[in-house]
Symmetry: C2
Subunit: 223 residues, 2 copies
DNA sequence: TATAATAGTGTTCATTTCACACTAAGTCAA
DNA sequence: TTGACTTAGTGTGAAATGAACACTATTATA
């Protein structure tokens, strides 16, 4: 950051992006949080994010922050909305544009937290107290995730390139918090016309091997 | 506006709200546009909106702009999303937070455009060329409107406090652009448990009078 | 070769969605 | 006063969809 000062005729708020990063690890839906090492909310956990640079698109900003924190790029990233209550940051007026990202657990290289003190994954049902209005943002992200789950292909974003139908079913069960009928689920998943068998199978343990699937090339999402 | 200058350590973008205001008039879905009287895009039509003041919430800002342009308040207003491509405004970096609003045609007092040159309603299927990235914003608002139509009670926002089921059906037909079966529609509307008969009826023309309905007190919307 | 463990597969019933046509109640004019 | 006109209001059967439910298939291992 330079010492240069930027001046305007009328007041401009600061603009940040914050990213709600979900993944599934250890059989639970988890959220990436960063421990703040500066005031305000020093020591509290917060969503990863940062200021929007003047030259970058806001979605680029979110993608950049996400890559800096997790080392992953080209993941599912969707805008959640803008949050701009006047006092949400006690320092100055900050409007944040929240995104939510879904990353497959296999892609998670442990977070190379650039400047932040510490980063960690928290189970959604055991979140610590969050800084700013981040609890509200997380709540809305969770709602969005649940709403889209059955009407889009976002669940696939939690999986590796090749996966079994049981893998996929577990994603649903973990997010929805309830068991799903295996036969109905498989019928539904195949009827989506979004996945195709790779021809390969995965064998592990003393039981029948499972067919591997991949997302079809034509991936379309729903608003 | 004062001559005072606002200075920051690092650059802040300007933040505006733009509002996609829909109504139904003359049997068509219409959009409120303002003719720009200053550069850039001077003379072009644009969405109503303006800069976010430092002390106000962004939704308050949208509501204020909407009230200034249309004279109506307490209407349906929902955030659509943030648009922040770096060059979307050629003057400086401007991030806009778009809202969409639905107002009943009866409430429309002709727009008392404060500073803008002119304001007018345009049919959605006959829009003029729009300034900035407003065409994209309008497109997404239309998509949102269509998606929510059958899964929420937003259609009611286009109607007066008391309405007939035929009024409601016409709203659907106009927005969806296709006719709807009368019996199925009425069953659906009543099964919503969101409207109740007022006991009154409206008589006009040489035919049976129509029962009037109102929104039930418990109005809930869906994300 | 028996056991254990997960993969994989169809049918029935209930519910929801869709298509479809007539009667009811008012106004107006002859 | 009656017939013509116009929109309001109502029910049923068929088709599609969603939900419940239990057994066989295939592998690893002891």
């Amino acid at each position: 950051m330079t010492d240069k000062k930027y001046c305007y005729e009328y007041p401009h708020p600061a603009v940040t992006t914050d990213i709600v990063v979900f993944t599934i690890r250890e059989g639970r839906l988890k959220l990436l949080l960063i421990k703040r090492k500066i005031s305000p909310y020093k020591g509290k956990w917060a969503l990863p994010g940062g200021f929007v640079a003047l030259h970058e698109d806001i979605s680029q900003c979110a993608a950049r922050e996400l890559a800096e924190e997790t080392g992953v790029s080209s993941v599912f990233l969707e805008q959640l909305g803008a949050y701009g209550a006047p006092k949400r940051d006690p320092r100055e007026r900050v409007i944040t544009i929240a995104y939510f990202a879904l990353i497959p657990s296999e892609k998670i290289q442990v977070q190379a937290a650039t400047d932040a003190a510490a980063a960690d994954w928290f189970a959604m049902d055991a979140l610590p107290e969050l800084a700013f209005d981040h609890a509200e943002i997380v709540e809305q992200a969770k709602t969005r995730l649940l709403n889209k789950l059955g009407h889009s292909t976002i669940a696939f974003q939690f999986l590796a390139d090749e996966f079994t139908l049981t893998d996929l079913q577990k994603v649903f069960e973990i997010i929805q918090g309830e068991e799903v009928d295996k036969r109905n689920f498989r019928k539904w998943a195949l009827a989506l016309n979004s996945i195709e068998a790779t021809g390969k199978e995965r064998r592990e343990g003393q039981h029948r091997p499972a067919k591997l699937y991949r997302l079809s090339s034509t991936v379309q999402d729903i608003d």
